[in-house]
Each structure stands twice: as structure tokens, then as C-alpha cells.
């Protein structure tokens, strides 16, 4: 498994130097950005078992922080770092407060409350026109080093790999183990003496901060930000990517992000042939429902169970031979 990941990472690293294609590079950058976002969502959904419908709120905070800093001040590296700091602080504070208030609720209520809280941020972004320019949004200039697409591609790739490794480490840490225990059986974890709420808040803060970072990269890649970063669609994207790719695997989130971004690109091109492809998301909606019903582990989870079963069968056959 690790070998495959290393080969793919090396391939992606070398790609911009061997194969010159602006479109492909922009597309892959999007894949990386959404992979980060989907992985941060996976920490909640796949590892802790929390269904949040308000993940777009952290994504949007990141996107707007960078946009406002670059627009109001000079687009220099210094202000970029300042915007990153602001995002980290804001997302950490917001996710902490939201978590503190809502995570004690049952799953239904939590999903509903996060949905409406992110709706509140959407309204805020629409109404606070002096800062956000409302629904129209605004364009902004980016620091010089990000203007070159290759540089930015490498940055996104680097951040994605870093986030992957951090989350891998995080979910295997004692803290991560407790989170997985909460997913499996909340009451039992509580009765073992763990303060479930604290662990859930920790997960939600880490996930919120990472989603904010994805938002920053997203805004830089577009050099434009408007209220759509707070929209339900962003959360839905994360949901589709993690569920279809496979929850609780991290790799699944990356694969899901790749699948959906590439499919988006190709299917929108097919829209010239038939209008139904303009509504490409409907296919993913249907696939998503089928996955939730029949393969709750997604692509990665289902594949690994299959290989695991086959290995087991092999082992059993060998034993039979020895015994026979």
C-alpha cells in the first residue's frame, strides 16, 4: 500500500516537468485542494462517526480570509502568512465554539444545527457587503510566487501529502484510537472513562482548521471568492467524495476527490452531446445513495475487504492442504 502511494506521489511530483498541460495542471490542483478538504471531513465522518452538514463554513472562512487580506492589503508573502494565521485562529475558534455548543446533541440535531449554522455564515457573507462584496464576490491578486501554476501545483501537492501524513499519524495516535472507539460505540467509550465530548471537540477543531487550509488554497487557485464557498454544495462535494471513495481510510477521500473532479471535467465537456451531462452531479447522487445502501465502506473499504477475504481463503486452503 505504502509503495503504491509513494509511486503515485513521485509521479505527480514529476508530472509538471515532463508533460506540459495547463488544463491538466489546474485540474489536478483542484483535486489536491478538494482532497485536503475531503480528508478533513473524513476525520469527522469516517473516524469519529460525526455527520456534519456545515463543513463549508470552515472552507469559506479560509477562502474569505485570504481574499480579504489580498484585496485590502498588498498581495505579498507577508500578508499571505498573516492570512494563513488568521484562518488558523478563526477556524480553530469557530470550530471549538460550534463543537462545544453542538457536539453534545444527538446525530440528527447535530447535522441539522451545523446545516443551519453554515447557512448563517452564508447570510453573513451576503449581507456584509462592505467586506465581502456580497453575492458577486471579488477578484484579488495573489503573491508573486503563486502566479506560476507549476509552483502552486507543487505547493498544493505538498500540502496534500503533508495533511495526509499528519492525519495518518493523528488517527493512529492514542487520541485517534479514542475517536475510533467513539465511532464504534459511544456509550462504551464514555463508560471506559473517556470524556467523549472533549475528544469530539478535538476532532472537530483539527478538521475545521484543515478545511480552512483547503479554503485558502481554493481561493488562491481561482483568485476569486464569492458566497458560493459557504454554500451547501461545498459540503455535499466533501460528502460525495468521502462516501464514494471510502470513509475512514483517508486514501478514499483522495480517490473520491480525484474521481469527482475528473468526472466533473469530462462530463461537462460531454454536455455538448447531450444536455443530461450538464447535470452530471445526478449520477454521483445516485451512485452515492447506492454506496450508502450497499457498500457503506466505499471503494477503498470494499476493495480492501475483498483482498483481505481472498488472502484469508488462500490461508485456509493452504491449511487444508497441510492437514490433508
Amino acid at each position: 500500500m505504502t509503495a503504491i502511494i509513494l509511486v503515485v506521489a513521485a509521479f505527480l511530483l514529476l508530472l509538471p516537468f515532463v508533460y506540459e498541460s495547463r488544463n491538466l495542471m489546474i485540474l489536478l490542483t483542484q483535486v489536491f485542494v478538494f482532497s485536503i478538504f475531503a480528508m478533513s471531513y473524513d476525520l469527522l465522518l469516517g473516524f469519529t462517526g460525526i455527520v456534519s452538514f456545515g463543513h463549508a463554513m470552515f472552507f469559506g472562512i479560509g477562502a474569505y480570509s485570504i481574499g480579504i487580506f489580498m484585496k485590502r492589503f498588498e498581495p505579498t508573502l507577508g500578508y499571505f502568512l498573516l492570512a494563513v494565521m488568521t484562518t488558523l485562529a478563526l477556524t480553530a475558534i469557530v470550530s471549538f465554539i460550534v463543537g462545544l455548543l453542538t457536539l453534545r446533541l444527538k446525530s440528527h440535531f447535530y447535522a441539522m444545527l451545523t446545516l443551519s449554522l453554515s447557512g448563517l455564515f452564508l447570510v453573513l457573507a451576503e449581507k456584509w457587503r462592505s467586506m465581502t462584496y456580497g453575492n458577486d464576490g471579488f477578484t484579488f491578486r495573489v503573491p508573486e510566487m503563486f502566479i506560476d501554476r507549476t509552483n502552486f501545483y507543487l505547493l498544493c501537492l505538498f500540502v496534500m501529502v503533508a495533511v495526509f501524513l499528519i492525519l495518518k499519524r493523528f488517527t493512529n495516535s492514542p487520541l485517534g484510537r479514542v475517536l475510533q472507539a467513539i465511532r464504534e460505540n459511544e456509550q462504551r467509550t464514555e463508560s471506559l472513562g473517556f470524556h467523549v465530548l472533549h475528544y469530539k471537540i478535538a476532532a472537530s477543531v483539527v478538521s475545521g482548521v484543515l478545511a480552512g487550509i483547503a479554503g485558502i488554497l481554493y481561493a488562491i487557485s481561482l483568485r476569486f471568492v464569492n458566497t458560493s464557498v459557504f454554500a451547501m454544495d461545498i459540503t455535499l462535494d466533501a460528502l460525495l467524495m468521502t462516501i464514494i471513495g471510502g470513509v475512514g481510510t483517508l486514501v478514499g477521500a483522495i480517490i473520491g476527490a480525484g474521481l469527482i473532479e475528473f468526472a466533473h471535467h469530462w462530463l461537462t465537456e460531454l454536455a455538448k452531446d447531450h444536455v443530461i451531462f450538464e447535470r452530471w452531479i445526478i449520477f454521483f447522487g445516485i451512485i452515492y445513495i447506492l454506496v450508502v445502501m450497499f457498500f457503506p465502506k466505499g471503494i477503498v473499504g470494499t476493495l480492501s475487504t475483498l483482498t483481505w477475504k481472498r488472502k484469508k481463503q488462500h490461508a485456509v486452503k493452504k491449511e487444508e492442504k497441510v492437514a490433508g
Binding site: 455527520v51 440535531f109 443551519s116 449554522l117 448563517l120 462516501i243 447522487g285 445513495i289 450508502v292
Partner: protein, 286 residues
């Protein structure tokens, strides 16, 4: 005075539309323990299909009936094929119904196109009455009347008929009802169907009221309906009508006096209720 009466009527009419959506949501939640995130999709489907039939047949009544039938049909299909396989698993339910919402609203765009569709009330509901210098728009009164009729009808069924008795008992204790030899699955389907029908009715009534319909309106109204369901108490039918009127009125008055805060106030109200009194303002059930 004129202004206050108009704002009140406006608020009541909006409240009734939200009630039609929230009533199904709260009954389904109370009985089946399913929070249907796709309910807004049924609302939008009612609006599109009803107005389409209305434009084809030129009869608003047939349009309304068509919308309700569409709601019934979708309700049966959804209950049978999508909700039933995941009963009892909360996370899967939440995920699957949200996915369904996505599919339903995208389907609308596939069939009727992504643009807004305009709608106007039929001639006999157009215009307004003037009583003592106060102008009252006919269509608003019509919506309020329909809303009250539906409320009274459902309330009658719940309190006075056998099926209502079973539903109320099911809200309290499903297992017991089942143990007494009643096929609760059938009741689930009927309740889901009625809930979907009410949502579709709300959708088709909204069309001429707001003048335009679009595929995103399902989600907008669904959020309001969630707020209502929470404020009224999950599973509390009477609470939902009171909460719907409250949310409708506060929406219409806030939209006039402090327009920037109208949605925010309702959401804050819901957040506060959820955190302090999760059983709802009107619920006695702990």
C-alpha cells in the same frame, strides 16, 4: 394598522406553508425516528409538477390535486426503496436522505430546466379585497384557509380515528404497538405518504404566492421547516403549527423592520432551543 394587518397576514401565510412542510417532517420523525433531509425536495417536486399540470390543464384545482398525487407517489417510492433499508441506522439515514435531496433537486433541473419558472394565481384568486381601507390580498387568505383546513383535518384523523390512535401510540412506543399485532410498517408508509403529500401541497401553493419557483427553494424552505420542527418539539404535531406561525410571523415582521437579520433570528432561535430545551418550546415530552 394597515401595515400590521398585512404583515400579520403575510406571516400567517408563510407560516402555513412552512407548517405543511414541517408537519410531515415532525410526524415522520416522531413515528419512524427518521429525520428526512429530502423533505424539501418533495416540496419542490410538488411545486414543479403541480404548476406544470396547472399550466397544461389551465385549472389550479387539478394542479393542486396533481401535486398531492405526485407527493404521495414519491413518498411511497422513497419509503419503500430508500428509507426502509436503513431503518434504525441514524448515520446512514442522514446521509442517504441528504443524497436523495441532491438527486431530487437535480432531477427537477433535468426535467424542467435549470431556470426559474414564473407562476401566477388563477383569476378567481387574483387581486384583493378592500375592507375598511385595508387591502387584503386574496391569495394569502386562501393559503391560510387551506393551511387551517389541513391542520384541522390531520388533527381530526389523529384524535378521532383508529389509524390516528395507532399513529399516536406509535409515536410513544413503536415496539408495544407492534407487539399488539398491528403492522407498523404499513402505518409508516401511510404516514410517510401523507407527509410527502402535504409537503407537495405546500410547494404548489408557494408557486403563485412568491411568483417564481426554482429548484433551490426546497432547501431554503427545508431549513425553515427544520427550525420549526425543533422549536415545536420533534414529533409534536400541535407544536409544529404553533412554531410555524411563530417563525412565519417573526420572518415577515423582521423582513420589514430589520431585513438583514430575518433568517438569522430564526436560526439563532433554533440554536438556542436546541441547546437549552432540546424537547422544543411546546413539548412536554422529555
Amino acid at each position: 394598522m394597515d401595515l400590521i394587518i398585512n404583515l400579520t397576514l403575510n406571516g400567517l401565510a408563510t407560516g402555513m406553508l412552512i407548517f405543511l412542510l414541517a408537519a410531515g417532517l415532525t410526524l415522520i420523525f416522531g413515528l419512524m425516528d427518521v429525520l428526512n433531509f429530502a423533505h424539501g425536495g418533495l416540496f419542490a417536486w410538488g411545486a414543479y409538477s403541480g404548476l406544470w399540470i396547472y399550466s397544461q390543464t389551465d385549472s389550479f384545482i387539478i394542479g393542486i390535486i396533481g401535486a398531492i398525487l405526485t407527493g404521495f407517489l414519491l413518498g411511497i417510492i422513497i419509503e419503500k426503496w430508500i428509507i426502509k433499508p436503513v431503518y434504525g441506522n441514524h448515520v446512514q439515514q442522514i446521509l442517504i436522505t441528504l443524497g436523495l435531496m441532491l438527486v431530487l433537486s437535480e432531477m427537477l433541473k433535468v426535467i424542467w430546466g435549470p431556470n426559474q419558472i414564473t407562476a401566477s394565481p388563477p383569476d378567481y384568486l387574483k387581486g384583493s379585497w378592500e375592507i375598511g381601507g385595508i387591502i387584503i390580498i386574496k391569495y394569502r387568505v386562501f393559503i391560510i384557509l387551506v393551511g387551517f383546513l389541513i391542520f384541522a383535518g390531520v388533527q381530526y384523523v389523529l384524535k378521532r380515528t383508529k389509524i390516528g390512535l395507532v399513529v399516536r401510540a406509535g409515536v410513544m412506543n413503536k415496539e408495544m404497538v407492534q407487539a399488539l399485532g398491528i403492522n407498523i410498517q404499513k402505518i409508516f408508509m401511510v404516514v410517510f405518504m401523507i407527509g410527502a403529500g402535504m409537503a407537495a401541497l405546500g410547494g404548489v401553493l408557494l408557486g403563485p404566492y412568491s411568483g417564481v419557483i426554482h429548484a433551490g427553494m426546497g432547501m431554503e424552505f427545508a431549513i425553515l421547516a427544520f427550525i420549526v420542527v425543533v422549536i415545536g418539539g420533534m414529533g409534536n404535531f400541535k407544536g409544529s403549527v404553533l412554531a410555524a406561525i411563530l417563525v412565519g410571523l417573526s420572518g415577515s415582521f423582521m423582513a420589514y423592520y430589520v431585513p438583514d437579520l430575518s433568517l438569522a433570528v430564526n436560526m439563532l432561535l433554533m440554536a438556542i432551543v436546541l441547546i437549552i430545551r432540546p424537547q422544543g418550546l411546546f413539548g412536554a415530552k422529555g
